[in-house]
């Protein structure tokens, strides 16, 4: 049971991320490097925010304080990573002779970059949130998955981790686009939705899982849709992706990898 619970939760949390990694990231060494670099930036932000949390002794019991500052710092470091990547962009474009970049579509390359770095952000944050819980889950005892409603600790943690991995991915796509196009309301959307979602998870401590999971899922869908649209997606293209229409029906930059690979095959 412990082992089953472990694998179940691990796959819920990181299964989609693993396949995303295998399909999108692993094929290109540069993406892996960007992934790790953005994970490193997230680590730095976590380091700073936990230092801050520890330093302000009176507020240590109030996680909300640490949370708000941590979210703000994360967004700050996201911006820092954005700046770093823009500095390195010229080199990166030259390097990436992947077939993905062959058309030298700068907008697409930028979206891919944002996608990859956001995924790195999300992956490391998800790992930090869940990995110790997972280690506890292996044994020697567990409270199980099927216990009464208020003990869905492991599963909710795993599910929220899943949400956060992809929330970060989408946030980065929106954020980078907002910075590029100077649409500052998009950046505000990212910061506010990040704050909202994180604050919602404060309700978990009161076992109000429905109150946190449902809105988080909704925000995930909304943010995902936004990211899809701003990276050139549309309902038409979505349909084309499903029906495997030929590529020439699509104009403009397709969204990330999925549209591209699906269409080209």
């Amino acid at each position: 049971m412990t082992l089953l619970g472990f694998f179940g939760c691990a796959l819920v949390a990181f299964g989609p991320a693993a396949s995303f990694f295998a399909v999108v990231i692993a094929r290109d060494p540069i993406r892996v490097i960007i992934l790790i670099a953005s994970g490193f930036f997230w680590l730095l932000s976590l380091l700073l925010s936990s230092g801050l949390w520890l330093a302000v002794v009176p507020l240590q019991k109030q996680l909300a304080f640490g949370l708000v500052f941590s979210v703000l710092l994360q967004e700050l470091f996201r911006f820092g990573f954005y700046k770093t990547m823009r500095k390195a962009e010229k080199g990166l474009q030259m390097i990436s002779e992947d077939e993905m970049y062959k058309d030298h579509n700068q907008a697409k390359a930028r979206h891919v970059l944002a996608l990859v770095s956001g995924f790195g952000y999300g992956l490391i944050s998800g790992a930090f949130a869940l990995i110790n819980v997972l280690a506890d889950m292996i044994g020697p005892g567990t409270i199980g998955l099927r216990s009464s409603g208020e003990h869905n600790f492991f599963f909710t943690s795993a599910y929220l981790t899943l949400c956060f991995v992809f929330l970060h991915t989408f946030w980065s796509v929106i954020f980078f686009y907002g910075c590029d196009a100077r649409k500052y309301h998009l950046i505000a959307v990212v910061v506010i939705s990040h704050l909202t979602v994180s604050c919602l998870t404060l309700l978990n401590a009161q076992k109000l899982y429905v109150a946190s999971l449902v809105p988080v899922t909704l925000v995930l869908l909304a943010v995902g849709a936004t990211a899809f649209v701003i990276s050139g997606g549309s309902v038409r293209r979505w349909r084309a992706w499903f029906t495997m229409k030929p590529a020439d029906q699509l104009n403009g930059p397709p969204r990330g990898e999925f549209a591209n690979t699906a269409v080209s095959t």
């Binding site: 976590l46 030259m94 990995i131 998870t201």
Partner: protein, 540 residues
Amino acid sequence: MGERRISERAELVSTIAHQDLALRSLETSRIEFTPLPESLPMMVAGDADEMHTVALDQSHSTSDQPTRGTKRGRSHGPMPDVVTQSTNQSTARGASHVVASQSTNQAPERGGHRDGPSGSRGHEPRPAQRTRTRPSGEPGPEDLQRRALDEAAAELEEEEELKYGAEHVMKLFVPVALCMLVVVATITSLNFYTERNGYLVYTPFHETSTDTGTKVWNSLANAGIMLGVIVVMTFVLIALYKYRCYKIISGWLIMSSLMLLFLFSYIYLGEVFRTYNVPMDYITLAILIWNFGCVGMVCIHGTGPLLLQQAYLIIISALMALTFIKYLPDWTTWVLLVVISLWDLVAVLCPNGPLRILVETAQERNEPIFPGLIYTSSVLYAYVLAVDDVEGGATPAGPVTATSRTRRQRRSSQQALTDGDEGIAGADAVVVRQPAAPAHQRNSVPEEEEERGIKLGLGDFIFYSVLVGKASSYGDWNTTLACFVAILIGLCLTLLLLAMYRKALPALPISIIFGVIFYFATSSLVKPFSDSLASEQVFI
């Protein structure tokens, strides 16, 4: 099998093997582009064969060599291709090779090497390979094109390096990550490597006191002694290498890998069986160990598939790192890591640093550094196509082979070690090829196993793994993960520096410093924060 006996034996082994520890630890970390800049054109994998040749031809036609005329004649071939494909990215690739190889002509010895064969092949028919994918067109106005190419190449050179860097970073990331994973998995699943029953003789102070001052003093003294041993052993090795005592060195290496592959893996296996309650008899175990060890010895010191060799090197490093983790006192490990990385910095970068001397001597002699000490990310470059050409048209693929032969993996064979360094420029590929032929017949490995790409000393693997393993032995996965990421980022930065400076660099300092900082920061700052976040299920 008797548990007591195993652990007794483990102790015994640990005392026997400290010699080996010292040896392993002085395979101090070193990263380098093997054949240095020259290797760049060679790094292109299969599809770029023609690029390759283009690059080399170009380099000859632009350099002021006596054989210039013939070479220029030869450069008619590739040029039109370049013209016709000037919008293609592959041109850019080829162009930057030009620069890469041109820059190497400054190295007189290598230039000579390449010169001979290509000069002698000047009038040979072009290889089918080169024309395989490109129709040969009219020769264009070469000079203009060459100039244009040079300019383009100069711009592209840097990016090209970065590109290779990216590929090779991955070729190092994977084994380093694997090695660390093996160590972490072992540390977290086998108690044997974290429980304390014995120390190395190099660490006479056991940090048993509760007083912090004494602990600090103990760990500093221990680390100092270890470092002293390492320094002395390094100098012994350098002296042996300098005076060409290859037999002693390879004997030393063979002994140490013998010990690691047989004894240490025996202990490891015993612990695995004990932890998972697997009943096992000595006969089966002997067969297992014998096969494992013998294949390993052959792969590391003889010839074998590159993948298998790499796997064995990773295993060796992991076993060595586990031994360090088990037998070094806690704080000594941390101090030692820092001290070793500082030593690494000195040894590789100082004008008279021993490792620098080693690398330079090896380059002078055109030899690979000992197989048991270095992990090569080299592409196993199957030369079968080129070889076919060679047999048909008398070494058309010559420039490639000529440069590559000097880097062919020569495994500890004295004759092979010495034959390359004479720099017999005139003795072209045909002559030099001959020693390789029997190897080709002996095993199914492609004839030319080239040693290219980035090399990383096994010492780096060991100490990276020691750091991550030590971090994981305290039971916090976040810390382990942070160290893991920090080390990979450090490695990345080191490789970036390598691409910029193009000489052997110490691989330990950046990674280890990052790792140590992140270990202490994570375990003291982040851990309480993330633990309370996780227990309250708050996500940030």
